[in-house]
């Protein structure tokens, strides 16, 4: 137990690193903005990014100090969350893969197919193993959503080759 806590302690410094990297990125980007053009008003586009960038660095340091002194962010609880369980990275990776598959495929095969892959993949990642029911639900969801948005609500989604067949 203490071992996992310590491990999490140190990994929380990753958030500090993220904030610091963001701060540097924001500052570097702000310095790059040219100032020799006619700007309206005394404050140009640089000012706010510089303030935000500096504050990001300050907060990164303050948070690091807090973490090193033993302060710990309280992980968010919820209905379906078991905070005592260790992180299940396999599920997160599979879920991410399902999500990104949709992004990669939506332009190629259209939403009805890529959406179904997303739903089935995500359900599989989360532990559902009904080999007939899962794809059936996925396909129904995907096609109903497509028709609902594209044809009834006037929100266009790519149909892909499947829908062109009709």
């Amino acid at each position: 137990m203490t071992e996992t806590l310590e491990k999490k302690d140190r990994s929380e410094l990753g958030i500090c690193a993220l904030l610091a990297v963001l701060g540097v990125l924001v500052l570097a980007d702000a310095i790059r903005i040219p100032t020799d053009f006619a700007q309206r008003g005394p404050v140009g586009p640089k000012a706010v990014p510089i303030v935000v960038g500096v504050l990001l660095l300050v907060v990164a340091v303050l948070l690091a100090r807090d973490v090193l002194r033993g302060g710990r962010g309280e992980a968010e609880g919820g209905e379906d969350i078991d905070l005592s369980a260790p992180s299940d990275w396999r599920t997160v990776l599979l879920l991410s893969a399902a999500f990104l598959a949709n992004a990669a495929l939506i332009g190629v095969v259209g939403f009805p197919i890529s959406g179904a892959i997303l739903f089935w993949g995500a359900a599989y990642a989360l532990g559902s193993r009904a080999l007939v029911r899962d794809p059936l639900i996925a396909a129904t969801m995907s096609i109903v959503t497509f028709v609902l948005f594209n044809n009834l609500l006037g929100v266009p989604l790519p149909g892909g080759p499947l829908m062109e067949a009709f």
């Binding site: 993220l18 700007q39 586009p45 948070l63 969350i81 299940d88 599920t91 959406g115 996925a138 959503t145």
Partner: protein, 497 residues
């Protein structure tokens, strides 16, 4: 009495058959999504936003009013029938509500919650009708420095009043401000943080940020810690109240809004504080104080009514000042911006039809909520049994649909995923989500107002504090910031007792 004429016109808009149907669909969808475990009202509203994309603004907001109140209501069913609630507003309801359900009084708890919502929303919406036009007319005169001051107050309040760790609140706010910087600078057209990408020049759409932080972030977070074999929801019949129950609940129903409405209107985190205050008040005033902790109906009626009135109070600030005080209101504001409508003092003049149509639909939605949800409660209760893999797969599915629908670009799905990862990390390390959302939405507006104010004063910093209003607001900011220091000082001065 000008408002009354406007309101009657508003009812004329809201009560056409199409709009009535849209309001009913909105209420049902809002409740449906809100009841689903793990989905709070902010996520419900964000996920349902794309449904309204194809509609004209008035129709869209009438439907949205239903979604908003329905989503707020849905959470109470979850917390009564399945203990651990997913959102802060329903935490208090779970204390007594779930105990009541376990003792076989689930029907009464649901009825007390539903009627409490009805009372809170009715009284709260009357509050909107009375207050909003007055505030709007007062606010017409406030200028750039005042707006900037109010936004600074919102930033400080949201990071300091709520949450356990200030530094984490500020970290979240700064992440939001950074996301808000992406895109072309509004005043000079210079690109900022676009990393040379053409798609990012338009900035990151607020809807994508909201859906990413709430829906995708939450799904990934839950996936990493999924509870296997959680609590079974308690089966329940049709909600009803006996005469004794009504005698115990009518006062809490009426007291709740008095606490909830004002808290909703100020940037102090929406329903969390007023529901707790209402609970404490009811406990103090109740004749059945011994029942508290084992399922007292007053402890459900009061907080639910307070929560729903606070949702109305939130709308006052959002509509008249363009200032969101909760995550849900922030998503609502994003919805307005989708249609190129900027909430603020001028909204009541420029878009009178739309605003009053919206307010009238809040009344309509409230009535529909009660009429539909009392008989439908057993159906909603069944939703709690939905297998978790399908639930979270569905959330990701609709999050993708929503993000893609914004502009039909694949890059939006990638941005959605990256923001989702951010939301995951924030949940894991206890960074609150609300400051980030407020930062994304108010950051660009605050920058604009600040630069306008400084333009007027020719660059002199006094231009930010040259009104009584702004000075007062900054004084409040200083008090909020200095409060923990004062408390620490007093504690060290008086050691032990």
């Amino acid at each position: 009495m000008d408002s009354l004429t406007h309101l009657i016109d508003g009812f004329g808009t809201a009560l056409t058959p199409t709009h009535l149907l849209l309001a009913a669909v909105g209420v049902l969808l809002g409740t449906f999504i809100g009841v689903l475990p793990g989905i709070g009202p902010a996520m419900a509203v964000a996920l349902l936003l794309p449904v309204t994309y194809g509609l004209d603004p008035t129709a869209a907001f009438i439907m949205f009013a239903g979604i908003y109140y329905g989503g707020m209501f849905g959470g109470s069913t979850t917390s009564i029938l399945l203990n651990t609630p997913g959102e802060s507003a329903a935490v208090v309801t779970a204390i007594e509500g779930n105990k009541m359900a376990k003792r076989g009084r689930g029907s009464q708890a649901l009825a007390a919650a539903a009627i409490g919502h009805f009372a809170g929303a009715m009284i709260g919406t009357v509050g909107i009708v009375l207050l909003a036009p007055v505030i709007a007319s007062l606010a017409v005169d406030i200028g750039a420095p005042d707006y900037f001051a109010v936004m600074i107050l919102a930033f400080i309040a949201v990071t300091s009043v709520l949450g356990k760790s200030r530094v984490r609140g500020f970290a979240s706010l700064l992440i939001g401000l950074t996301i808000g910087l992406v895109g072309l600078d509004e005043m000079t057209g210079q690109s900022r943080l676009t990393l040379g990408s053409l798609e990012l020049a338009d900035g990151i759409d607020v809807v994508i940020v909201a859906v990413g932080l709430f829906a995708v972030g939450e799904s990934l977070w839950i996936a990493s810690r999924l509870r296997h074999g959680g609590d079974e929801p308690i089966p329940v019949g049709r909600p009803w109240l006996g005469r004794e129950d009504v005698r115990r609940t009518w006062k809490p129903w009426l007291r709740g809004p008095l606490i909830g409405f004002p808290f909703g209107a100020i940037p102090a985190g929406g329903a969390e504080i007023p529901t707790f205050l209402s609970y404490v008040t009811e406990k103090k005033l109740s004749k059945h104080r011994d029942e508290f902790g084992t399922g007292a109906i007053e402890g459900v009626a009061g907080p639910e009514s307070a929560a729903s009135a606070s949702a109305s109070g939130t709308l006052v600030t959002m509509l008249t000042l363009g200032l969101p005080t909760t995550a849900t209101a922030a998503v609502m504001l994003a919805a307005f911006q989708q249609y190129g409508i900027q909430p603020g003092p001028l909204l009541f003049e420029r878009e009178a039809d739309l605003v009053w149509g919206l307010i009238a639909s809040l009344f309509v939605g409230t009535v529909l909520l009660l009429v539909l949800n009392l008989p439908l409660a057993p159906v909603w209760a069944k939703l709690l049994k939905i297998p978790r893999p399908y639930l979270y797969a569905g959330i990701l599915f609709f999050a993708s649909v929503g993000a893609y629908a914004v502009s039909g670009q694949v890059v939006d799905l990638i941005v959605l995923f990256v923001i989702g990862l951010l939301g995951f990390a924030m949940r894991r390390y206890g960074l609150p989500i609300l400051p980030a959302i407020i930062g994304v939405i108010l950051g660009p507006a605050a920058e604009l107002q600040m630069r306008r104010a400084l333009q007027l004063s020719d660059g002199s910093l006094t231009g930010l504090v040259n009104t009584t209003f702004s000075v007062t607001v900054y004084a409040i900011v200083v008090v909020i910031l200095a409060w923990p220091l004062v408390r620490r000082f007093r504690r060290t001065r008086q050691p032990v007792g």
